[in-house]
Amino acid sequence: MKARFSINSRNLPTLFTLGLFVIMFAVGSLSFPGFLSPQNFLNLFIDNSYLLILGVGMTFVIISGGIDLSVGSVLAFSTMLSSSLLEKSHWDPLLVIPVVLLAGVALGLFMGYIIQAFDLPPFIITLAGLYLARGLCYVVSIDTIGISNQFWQDAAHAQWNVIGQNFISPSVVIGAVVVIAGVFISRSTKFGRTVYAIGGNEQSAILMGLPVARTKVMIYGLSGFCSALAGIVFTFYTLSGYALNGKGMEMDAIATVVIGGTLLTGGVGGVFGTVFGVLVYGTIQILIVFQGTLNSWWTRIAIGFLVFLFCLLQRVFESRKVGKAKKPEAKVPAKSPS
């Protein structure tokens, strides 16, 4: 009983995020006709599956105390690479997918290796990665490349009905699989727990004899994998490769992770939180579209304001929680003299 409660209390930030998401969705439903529909809810997943996948990779990076600014560019690069391989080189889709994923992993491992081996700040190395991947996009082509490949077309147009006439796309399924895998890796594998340990205290993790060097490199490899996969999902979404895709998307990914309750200082948070972070981010965007009269510039102010409001509420709830949780914490270490 006790154990269950304490696990819950560790998940509280995530639950707050979920609660706030529900409130936001409810406000939208009450304010706008057509907002409260199953399809509108499912659209959140259809439209954000790539962000969800990026977010899962980014969650690991941030929990380890690092950051990966290259995700948007790597996503763009994999859209370029896959469209170019499909349309210009006419490769088989079943070959293209692994090659693109491998390219993403390789880029990630490369950055991870430099960060780890030379003790350099992830911010700078992944910023270089951001430029590098973006530059590679232009090297592939500065034009957009439309994808006419049948497999991709099918993936893009497929709609699977789930509740009545409401549908999801294959990307949603891919996103779901990634989330489940992410949750599993973070909670139930040695790799996942080492990521948390590194984020908690890297020096301690080394002294505890954990494979810190290897794990750190792998974290960026994993993020590279997620970025590449998100790129493929993105091409299912847009059926094209475009060098300017995903500009600034790294900030979206970071924001969703952090809104989901993961601390940028590392060690605290989780994949589930990121799912809700993505939902909140998506809902903010839908709300603004439904509102529909904001000028471009007011749109930005509104997004800023909603993020602010959300984070503020989150902080208020969190400080309440800390205040209340203090009691049991202080009592536990007490023990009788022997």
Partner: protein, 508 residues
């Protein structure tokens, strides 16, 4: 035993840090089935020797043999794989993980390719139970005190099937009962054939547990001795390089201090506390501290001594009660307020709450004084150096220069830096939470001497230590805590070890 080949042999190990020769040509041998203590002053090179053995540092010269074969571990992980398990001096765990994970991470029980959390939690509770600790192992480690954390660090290495066990000052924040429990386990492991390297500054403990002693002094190898053939006084002389009697400390002095403090009782109270408390942290208590008083807080692990200190220093804000400083009611709602009112506080958790690892020793020392004077009244570099060097000298901080980074100091010397920081501010009331943690015999006496000196000059001191003996020696009166409440105040004749124990056992 000694006719067998040693399991670990370190030959002519040397290690230099910029400006410091931490080890020069040190030999060390460890046999199976023995507890081997390394003794030496702060900065003698004990931790460095351990870190060379476990691959944290690479020696400049010399070689390490394990079971006769040369080894070159390049990381703690590599050492662990060779069967060398270590508890390092500073608690090196991950506060964000659960207690159970801290014990098992890296060697989690697996089931069907996934971590078996249930088994892990159960086993963790079992291991801790062997050390007589009952805590909720699913909670994050950060919710427990330093003492519990130290027990967890020990539990982590007990669990495995190692050949060599290294414990670098594992007992520095444990109370007697915990230490006894730990020793029971250590003896059992020794009898099972493990080789155990044990570092402590407590002479009693050394004699209780160790079979053999290696003494280091200033990075030099002094000698290796059988414990039962080395009288205490000789050990101290060899460690310090001088007779203990050279120290000015004497009981006589102490009595005088106590007497004079009593005589001055009618003078002014520097700190008075009325009904101060915080729900869930510490129950309301009263407290009077007069000029020259040293108030010892005695209690068992987790009895609420640290909480009392935190409340007085404004780290936690009380939800009831008042604090009077020199008779004036003061609202202390933050450490800054407390400091401005003339209170100083040395935290027990020097790594997380005390030391600025990347700042120089000079900066570490003058920081609180500077904060007290305000941003604009910058202390000139000359003055800073003067203050810092004065304190470095008077506290005997071992460092090549005041400009070295604090993280380069040995653990005990870091502790002295924290004390120096508060001494520099010239406080009215000084709260010391385990100030002697990790400090060598010589320095310990010096520090207690300092405390008594200060109290003679009119400073009020609140002294927290897990060692009753220390508390008794320093204090003019003692408050006993139990289960987050102050249960009694002991004065004069009542101030004996058995008096404290009786109070704890009997009270409430």
């Amino acid at each position: 035993m000694s006719d067998k080949a040693p399991i670990v042999e370190m030959r002519k190990i040397s290690k230099t840090f910029p400006g410091v020769r931490a080890l020069s040509d040190v030999d060390f041998r460890l046999y199976m089935g023995e507890v081997h203590a390394i003794m030496g002053q702060n900065g003698a090179g004990k931790s460095t020797l351990v870190k060379v053995l476990t691959g944290v540092y690479k020696q400049d010269s010399g070689e390490v043999l394990l079971e006769g074969k040369p080894i070159k571990p390049d990381s703690p992980l590599a050492a662990q794989k060779l069967g060398i398990n270590t508890v390092y001096q500073e608690v090196n765990l991950c506060l964000n993980l659960s207690v159970a994970e801290n014990i098992f991470i890296g060697k989690e029980p697996m089931k069907l390719g996934r971590i078996d959390w249930k088994t892990m939690n159960r086993k963790a509770a079992e291991v801790l139970a062997r050390l007589n600790i009952t805590v909720d192992v699913t909670r994050t480690l950060s919710s427990y005190s330093i003492a519990v954390q130290q027990m967890v660090a020990i539990a982590r290495v007990l669990d495995s099937s190692a050949k060599v066990l290294i414990l670098d000052e594992p007992t520095s924040s444990l109370d007697d009962s915990e230490v006894e429990q730990l020793f029971k386990v250590i003896r059992k492991l020794r009898d099972e054939g493990l080789a155990i390297l044990f570092i402590t500054h407590f002479l009693d403990q050394t004699y209780q547990i160790s079979d053999r002693i290696t003494i280091l002094k200033n990075g030099d190898f002094v000698g290796e001795y059988k414990t039962d053939q080395l009288p205490r006084i000789e050990l101290i002389t060899k460690m310090l390089g001088k007779e203990l009697s050279e120290f000015s400390y004497s009981t006589n002095n102490e009595d005088k201090a106590k007497a004079s403090a009593k005589a001055r009782k009618d003078i002014s109270a520097v700190l008075q506390v009325k009904n101060l408390g915080l729900e869930g942290s510490i129950e309301p208590f009263d407290l009077d501290l007069y000029q020259g008083d040293v108030l010892g807080l005695a209690g068992l692990l987790g009895s609420g001594r640290t909480e009392t200190a935190r409340l007085l220093f404004g780290i936690d804000s009380a939800d009831q009660g008042d604090i009077f400083i020199k008779g004036k009611k003061s609202s202390i709602s933050s450490p800054r307020h407390a400091m401005m009112a003339g209170i100083g506080f040395c935290s027990e958790d020097r790594k997380n709450e005390g030391i600025f690892a990347e700042l120089s020793i000079r900066e570490n020392i003058i920081l609180a004084l500077q904060a007290r004077r305000g941003v604009l009244k910058y202390i000139s570099m000359k003055k800073q150096l003067e203050i810092a060097e004065d304190l470095i000298k008077s506290l005997g901080i071992k460092t090549p220069s005041a400009a070295s980074e604090a993280k380069q100091l040995s653990g005990g010397n870091q502790q002295k830096v924290m004390l120096a920081r508060w001494l520099a501010t010239n406080p009215i009331v000084l709260i010391l939470d385990e100030p002697t943690r990790g400090i060598d015999v010589g320095a310990k006496l010096e520090i207690m001497e300092q405390i008594l000196n200060l109290s003679r000059e009119g400073l009020g001191v609140i002294f927290i230590s897990s060692e009753f003996e220390e508390v008794l020696r320093c204090s003019t009166k003692i408050s006993v805590l139990k289960d987050k409440a102050m249960i009694a105040e002991l004065n004069g004749e009542e101030m004996t070890e058995s008096g404290i124990m009786r109070t704890i056992a009997g009270g409430r």
